[in-house]
């Protein structure tokens, strides 16, 4: 549980930087850092202010062959990432949860999925079973994300119409479990943090008021988290991120 009192947050951030948290608490902070800019700033404070204590020792002598080893392994890592767009489950496991809201990789992945989107668009009208009474303003393809924070391919499609109707289409099997729900969030202001667009009704649509619709822009992040049945009680995500991705403005021409 990430505390809300500033002093407690400073202590937690300090313990995190000092390396004093157990594995579970550390993972919780890592995950929170992706969304919680205030906590990230408190962590950065300690990282920077304590750094001189590390730097005071000077340097150790590095094995001259070490760079060649790193460079060799870099090649295989990048190839592995390159394969990701074709075969998402093969993505190497890396705990880069932090700052995921702003991750260019996410952006690139979303862009790379344009082809997939085109295919999906072809099936959308029937699956969403709604008359196209209002043209689409934005799409967002959210990537599935496992408990370790790894993305494993497209998991959810969000369609936002010009009249504010938000429809969602699951692309992956998901069972929130008894007493749990899926809640949709968006982030347009880092300082404010994620804002709820509502609990996802099974197969239904959410309607956004015009002023909220106006805040949605190209590249804006959306995520779906696991929450209590009635949605998060505190107005911020409390559960882990199940799906995450960015909005993309719909093209104006018809298919």
């Amino acid at each position: 549980m990430i505390p809300s009192e500033p002093e407690d947050r400073d202590v937690l951030a300090g313990e995190y930087v000092l390396g004093l948290l157990d594995t579970a608490a550390m993972a919780e902070v890592e995950q929170a850092l992706a969304l919680d800019a205030d906590l990230a700033r408190r962590v950065a404070f300690w990282e920077e202010r304590l750094l001189p204590a590390s730097a005071a020792f000077g340097t150790a002598e590095v094995d001259p062959t070490q760079w060649a080893r790193i460079e060799r392994d870099l090649a295989t890592r990048r190839q592995a990432v390159g394969r990701t767009t074709i075969s998402p489950p093969s993505r190497p496991r890396y705990g880069a949860v932090r700052a995921a809201w702003r991750s260019p990789a996410l952006w690139r992945a979303t862009t790379a999925l344009a082809t997939a989107a085109a295919i999906l668009l072809a099936i959308l009208p029937s699956r969403l079973s709604a008359p196209a009474e209002s043209p689409t303003r934005y799409f967002a393809i959210l990537q599935s994300r496992d408990a370790a924070g790894q993305e494993s391919g497209p998991g959810w499609l969000i369609q936002i119409a010009r009249n504010g109707t938000v429809r969602s289409l699951p692309l992956a099997e998901v069972r929130p479990g008894t007493g749990r729900s899926l809640q949709l969030w968006t982030l347009w202001d880092q300082a404010r943090g994620p804002v709820s667009l509502g609990v996802l009704p099974p197969g239904g649509a959410i309607h956004l008021p015009p002023e909220r619709l106006e805040t949605i822009g190209d590249g804006q992040l959306f995520e779906i988290t696991l929450e209590p049945e009635a949605g998060s009680p505190i107005g911020r995500p409390t559960g882990r991120i199940l799906f995450i991705g960015r909005a993309k403005g719909a093209a104006t021409q018809t298919l």
């Binding site: 390396g19 004093l20 950065a44 404070f45 204590a53 590390s54 005071a56 760079w67 190497p92």
Partner: protein, 179 residues
């Protein structure tokens, strides 16, 4: 060596520019290896930590955000977390004494003394100096040597609950002093 703009180098890494990673390596590998060595206490393990950390830096560079913090602190955190992960997984208590004797027993500098003479360390030194010696040591044993709270309790012969309380109070005092 020319001064390095860490943030720009990390942004280069995020774009897939290998020369940027190489620049970071050339400037910081010796420093980062010293950080890792101090925690893992074995040269072969420290070299592995450095290796894995540079792959991490390459893979995670795109999550670096210069508005949130300094690049040098960011890469140091990656190395420290790699090193901590190793010592926690290895259950260091069992081989700490042997490793201490073998590798760095006699030339381990006292971090508090080293801070006093370092260029950037004056402020941190001044704030640490305001803490009681025991509480100061708790912070440095954790940050510099990578000890867990139970390891610190054992090292200082102090109950774990006391160590936890010292950590909290020291952090609150340091936050105030360093802000």
């Amino acid at each position: 060596m020319e001064p390095l703009d860490h943030a720009s180098a990390l942004e280069g890494c995020a774009r897939g520019d290998r020369a940027s990673l190489r620049r970071l390596y050339e400037h910081e590998a010796g420093f980062l290896l010293a950080v890792a060595l101090r925690i893992v206490r074995r040269r072969d393990v420290a070299a592995d930590v450095l290796h894995d950390a540079f792959l991490d830096i390459w893979m995670r560079a795109e999550t670096f955000d210069r508005r949130r913090g300094a690049g040098r602190a960011w890469i140091t955190t990656i190395v420290r977390h790699r090193a901590l992960k190793h010592v926690r997984a290895a259950g260091r208590e069992t081989d700490l004494d042997a490793a201490l004797g073998a590798e760095i027993a006699d030339d381990t500098p006292d971090p508090f003394a080293a801070l006093a003479t370092s260029q950037d360390g004056a402020r941190l030194h001044g704030c640490l100096a305001q803490l009681d010696a025991d509480r100061r040591q708790v912070i440095l044993l954790a940050y510099v040597d990578g000890l867990s709270q139970s390891e610190i309790a054992e090292r200082l012969g102090t109950p774990l609950g006391t160590v936890k309380a010292w950590v909290r109070r020291s952090l609150i005092a340091l936050k105030d002093c360093l802000s």
